[in-house]
């Protein structure tokens, strides 16, 4: 029997498993010093023994992420819809926001702490602003790039302006908006963690900074591991949501005839 490559999904798990094995073996065999990379088992052990501290920190981080996402998505969609739909606002707002998006907003964080203190508020404000931009920009883009043919068709069928918005503009822009939400959500998580690492007294980012200053590598890596798991879980959730919402466009947004389509048509079907 010829040797065959395993399926991509099996492959992904194999790569992950290999990485984890390396994580365990490299420090144990002293190829990498324990200070730089504590072994996986040690990291998991401290994570378990200090679980109360880590769970509490995770709670703080999750709370900040949730509120910041709410702000980023709500304001982003609202402003994006206005910017994409109203020509005057588009010309006024979009160039400004597009340029702001390129600014490393993290330089503003010290100002946020000065205004709002070192508690959760400054993290929420910072991460909210950070995640707001991709949501707003992709919402605006989603609305602006709708095929005018759809709106024309709806008008020819007698759609009023509000029907055009609810039945055409919104469903047609959902794919782009969802992509923006996924990106904005990821940035919000990054924003919260970075803010916690810079100035704070709670949260997972705070644990990373605190244990790094006292050179407690296993505890630093335990915190990193949690952030990794948090981000990956968010991404999986967001992709799942996208897939479920966009069942209608599995073959792309406006697919041309492709082999798949022809195969989907049973023999003897009309032209």
């Amino acid at each position: 029997m010829p040797l065959r490559w395993p399926a991509p999904s099996t492959m992904r798990w194999l790569i992950l498993a290999t990485l984890l094995v390396f994580w365990e073996l490299m420090p144990r065999t002293k190829i990498v010093p324990e200070l730089f990379l504590p072994s996986l088992s040690k990291t998991l052990a401290v994570l378990y023994s200090d679980r109360l501290e880590y769970v509490e920190a995770l709670g703080v981080t999750l709370y900040e992420v949730a509120i910041a996402m709410l702000f980023a998505c709500g304001a982003g969609i609202l402003m994006g819809a206005l910017g994409g739909g109203v020509a005057l606002l588009r010309n006024l707002l979009l160039p400004v926001f597009s340029s702001l998006y390129a600014v490393p907003i993290v330089i503003l964080y010290p100002i946020f702490t000065a205004w709002l203190g070192v508690g959760s508020e400054s993290k929420i404000a910072f991460a909210g602003v950070y995640g707001f931009f991709p949501v707003m920009l992709s919402t605006a883009a989603g609305i602006r790039t709708i095929d005018p043919q759809y709106v024309l068709a709806a008008r020819s069928m007698g759609a009023t302006l509000s029907q055009q918005i609810t039945r055409v503009v919104i469903p047609a822009s959902i794919p782009t908006v969802l992509t923006g939400l996924r990106l904005g959500g990821a940035l919000t998580i990054i924003g919260v963690v970075v803010a916690e690492m810079l100035t704070s007294a709670a949260g997972i980012g705070y644990l990373v900074t605190r244990y790094r200053t006292i050179l407690d590598s296993p505890r630093v890596f335990a915190a990193i591991l949690m952030i990794l798991v948090l981000s990956v879980m968010f991404d999986v959730l967001a992709r799942g949501l996208e897939r479920r919402t966009l069942a209608w466009q599995t073959a792309g947004r406006r697919p041309r005839r492709s082999r798949e389509i022809m195969q989907a048509v049973p023999a003897g079907a009309p032209a």
Partner: protein, 273 residues
């Protein structure tokens, strides 16, 4: 024989006008004044007729169709449909079928067909009944649950036609509906359209670039000049109905096709005339 004769006479006598365009002109606003797109268009389409409009690219065919559909306002002139002016889209009087890809990709075929009914707030069950009847009419029974990307180009246009007909408007406007299809599918679809037309007795205004399609489908072909578009020839197609593929090989077919082509050649390359 006598029966046939009386039928013909009936046809001639009782022929109310479905569409009447009088002295219509249109100028698009542009830099340096405006771009005249249509000039002094007058036409009358009798109810139940199949009229095909041909003309060089950019001569204003789509513009004219948009005005007939109430989607755009002409600068001058009037359009009457069933003796009442058209000012805004009225899907109960005029259905429109566009080129490919105007189906909503987020709705299944049957939901696409129900769309105009849903806009009017028709209850779900009644909507579904109408849509299923339309699916049967266009030969797509059992395909209602498919999304547009799961349908072939020809099937998509069948759904578009069903959507244009679902409110049973007396007039159906079609702007190059088969332009994106391959030639074989296109011939099949033309034939199918005639079948649907003969069972529903709609008035059809159909735009195409294909001379063969024009002659095959039409009762009358209107030829438009290069921009600004005027009607430069009206060619009655005398071929009997129902049309068959064999007619394409006849002399009459060839002569009609040639006459249209000569007119278009004259208007696009005046030097050759």
């Amino acid at each position: 024989m006598q029966h046939m004769a009386s039928l013909t006479r009936l046809h001639e006598v009782a022929e109310p006008t479905a569409i009447e365009v009088a002295r219509l002109s249109h100028v698009y606003a542009g830099p340096e004044g405006g771009v005249p797109a249509l000039e002094d268009i007058s036409m009358k389409v009798a109810a139940g007729r199949f009229v095909v409009i041909v003309g060089p690219s950019g001569c204003g065919k789509t513009s004219l169709l948009m005005m007939l559909a109430g989607l755009r306002h002409q600068t001058e002139g009037t359009i009457l449909c069933n003796e009442r002016p058209i000012n805004r889209p009225d899907p109960a009087r005029v259905g429109v079928v566009f080129q490919e890809a105007s189906l909503f990709p987020w709705l299944s075929a049957v939901d696409n067909i129900e769309f105009p009914l849903a806009l009017r707030g028709m209850p779900k069950e009644e909507r579904r009944r109408h849509a299923e009847a339309m699916l049967r009419l266009v030969g797509l029974e059992g395909f209602g649950g498919r999304y547009p990307h799961e349908l072939s180009g020809g099937m998509k246009q069948r759904v578009s036609i069903a959507r244009g007909l679902v409110q049973d408007p007396p007039v159906l406007l079609m702007d190059e509906p088969f332009a994106a299809l391959d030639e074989q599918t296109r011939m099949t679809m033309g034939h199918e359209l005639l079948r649907i037309w003969s069972t529903t007795r709609k008035t059809v205004v159909f735009i195409t670039h294909s001379l063969t399609e024009a002659v095959y489908l039409a009762d009358e072909v209107l030829v438009m000049s290069a921009r600004p578009g005027r009607i430069i020839d009206r060619i009655p197609v005398t071929l009997p109905r129902p049309r068959t593929y064999e007619m394409m090989a006849t002399d009459t077919f060839g002569r009609l096709r040639d006459r249209i082509w000569q007119q278009i050649r004259k208007t696009t390359q005046p030097g050759l005339a």
